[in-house]
């Protein structure tokens, strides 16, 4: 194809049609995936946005109510505002801290001798793979004498009198949940970092030493990080997804609803209205707001990562 002269609209259309016709095989290859993907990942978002403007309880047909769900959420629902505060707090702490931990551990592990590396990766990644094992924390933090923290605290004389109700007393619930989330947070971003460090060309470091790089921090900032931008972005996407969609952990450890809604999250609220109260319109509005928050976060983080090494 030559581009020396601008194509007219008609020519362009013809070319486009020709392009599509020639690509028939490719479309056929993509079709099965695209079909399932669109049905279960794209369509749900569209449906969710549509229902967020309606009153819909599954039994009756949906009624269009305009922005009412949104105004109710933002102006009339104290529990939702509590959930937003909690979720933002969790995201602001566990997102960056989890992300940094994932990178620092991956970086430290990379410096280990080869035989230790695979083992260390397994140890740090294990909480992510093992699914519902976080339930173990409910035993560790249990509010009676069988709770390990309570028992240890007693033996060491740190806790006296009544055992502490770590999972039901609002003063302790948030810190406990933060610890558990951080424990589970290394995830796929961590694996991506480990792999990224593994593949940076050795010669770049040697060139760096000649250029006068003197310590591991300079090495990190000028060579390692700029080489890993893509992975850093992938890790950030994973961190956002995880830190904004906390729900199972709070439900399993602190119950649902938790005492005084102390660890109630946006997703908890969504499940409450969607699966228990069958107010689908309201639940959809919650989902839409959550999704918007995540997309905005993602945009800002992308900008930040582009500044690395400059």
């Amino acid at each position: 194809m030559e581009n020396s002269r601008a194509m007219t609209l008609k020519e362009r259309w013809e070319w486009f049609r020709y392009d599509i016709k020639m690509s028939r095989t490719y479309y056929l290859f993509l079709l099965p995936y695209a079909l399932v993907f669109i049905t279960f990942f794209i369509l749900p978002v569209a449906i969710s946005i549509w229902y967020s403007f309606t009153y819909y309880n599954i039994f009756e047909p949906a009624k269009f109510v305009g922005l009412q769900n949104y105004t109710n959420l933002l102006l009339g629902d104290d529990v939702f505002l509590k959930a937003v505060t909690n979720t933002l707090l969790m995201a602001v702490i566990t997102g960056p801290v989890g992300y940094l931990m994932a990178f620092i551990f991956a970086w430290f592990i990379h410096g280990l001798p080869r035989f230790l590396r695979a083992f260390a990766v397994l140890i740090f990644y294990a909480p992510t793979i093992s699914g519902n094992v976080f339930m173990i924390w409910s035993l560790i933090f249990s509010g009676d004498q069988y709770g390990y923290i309570n028992a240890m605290g007693r033996n060491m004389g740190l806790i006296s009198g009544q055992p502490k109700y770590f999972l039901t007393d609002p003063t302790f619930m948030m810190p406990v949940i933060l610890i558990v989330i951080l424990w589970m947070s290394l995830g796929n971003g961590f694996l991506s970092f480990v792999a990224g460090l593994h593949t940076i060309d050795r010669s770049q470091y040697e060139a760096g030493y000649i250029d006068g790089i003197r310590n591991r921090w300079q090495e990190l900032w000028f060579i390692t990080l700029p080489n890993m931008k893509g992975m850093l972005l992938f890790g950030a996407v994973m961190a956002i997804t995880q830190s904004f969609s906390v729900a199972d952990v709070t439900r399993e450890l602190c119950g649902f609803p938790s005492t005084d809604y102390a660890v109630h999250t946006i997703v908890n609220h969504l499940v409450d209205y969607g699966s228990l109260r069958f107010d689908m319109g309201y639940a959809s509005a919650i989902a839409t707001i959550l999704f918007l928050i995540m997309i905005i976060c993602n945009k800002y983080i992308q900008k930040g990562i582009n500044r690395i090494g400059k």
């Binding site: 599509i20 690509s23 095989t25 290859f29 993509l30 099965p32 995936y33 695209a34 399932v36 993907f37 279960f40 990942f41 794209i42 369509l43 749900p44 969710s48 229902y51 551990f105 430290f108 280990l112 260390a120 140890i123 740090f124 294990a126 793979i129 093992s130 699914g131 519902n132 094992v133 173990i136 560790i140 004498q145 069988y146 028992a151 240890m152 424990w183 796929n188 694996l191 991506s192 480990v194 040697e206 000649i210 890993m228 893509g230 992975m231 992938f234 996407v237 997804t241 969609s245 729900a247 997703v267 969504l270 699966s275 959809s284 989902a287 959550l290 999704f291 995540m294 992308q302 582009n306």
Partner: protein
């Protein structure tokens, strides 16, 4: 003059690195060590006061109890195992084939819409399953898939992270390999099956691990209501919910659930690292 990596590594710094790794390693490993130890504890040790981390007299009692309880229940334990194994195997297999086919053409050929499609896939990496759960239920309902295996298996086929990783890995496969086969007269399907799939083995092994993790842990209580179709994690959750008298069995259950994804991960670890090396998101 010394050059190379030693120069940038102070001894003090190395000590800090090891200390941090050991300390945090203990934090990350603790609950897992705890779970494994508890599974082998006799009941009196589980309720020992003050509690101990390590098992004193290991026993298999908890596992025997687990099997007696499950074989006496209305739906036998083997049925739950079958459901989860079937869902995991079928979903993972279909996911690998379908996602690889799509990722192959998106990576190797330019056609109208291919770039846009991949961008959309990257955005969906942000979705948590809770956000799409309600509309998904409505769609399943329309398709009359509620209360069938399909409701769990089919959405798993399109897991965006799988497509993403396969495409990124596929980008590193030289186009010449494919062109050479074309000159020999091979059709796309046979190129895909005989050349592409063997070349990207590390990628689909990785995707297999993620898919197994996802499906093996699926409770699927949103979509499946018939007891005989329910999954293993659901059944095991019921046992743990049995409270104090089931504490020993609960520990056995926890370990049982945990072990399968762990073993799959360990056996594919080197492939996973190779694949994740291409996980970077490019602008």
């Amino acid at each position: 003059m010394k050059t190379g990596i030693r120069q940038t590594r102070s001894i003090g710094g190395n000590i800090v690195v090891y200390l941090v790794l050991i300390l945090f390693g203990a934090f990350f490993a603790f609950p897992l060590v705890f779970a494994i130890n508890n599974a082998f504890k006799p009941l009196n040790e589980i309720f020992l006061f003050p509690p101990r981390l390590f098992v004193q007299q290991p026993t298999m009692d908890n596992f025997y109890d687990l099997f007696t309880i499950m074989s006496r229940s209305r739906i036998t334990f083997s049925r739950y195992i079958f459901n989860t194994v079937f869902i995991t195997a079928a979903g993972t297999f279909a996911h690998i084939i379908v996602a690889s086919m799509g990722a192959y053409v998106v990576s190797k050929y330019k056609f109208p819409g291919s770039r846009l499609f991949f961008k959309v896939v990257i955005i969906t990496l942000l979705f948590s399953p809770h956000v799409t759960a309600i509309p998904n239920f409505l769609i399943m309902n329309r398709l009359t898939w509620v209360d069938t295996y399909l409701a769990v298996i089919v959405p798993a086929i399109a897991m965006p992270i799988g497509f993403f990783l396969l495409k990124q890995f596929m980008d590193t496969v030289p186009m010449t390999l494919i062109e050479a086969a074309k000159i020999d007269g091979a059709k796309e399907l046979s190129i895909f099956w005989r050349i592409v799939m063997p070349t990207i083995k590390p990628a689909w092994l990785t995707v297999m691990v993620f898919s197994v993790q996802n499906l093996w842990n699926a409770r699927a209580t949103n979509f499946i209501f018939s007891e005989e179709l329910k999954t293993l994690p659901y059944a095991l959750g019921q046992i743990i919910g049995g409270g104090v008298q089931r504490a020993g069995v609960g520990a056995a259950v926890t370990m049982f659930i945990m072990i399968v994804p762990l073993v799959v991960f360990i056996s594919a670890q080197s492939n996973i690292i190779e694949t994740m090396a291409n996980s970077g998101i490019k602008e």
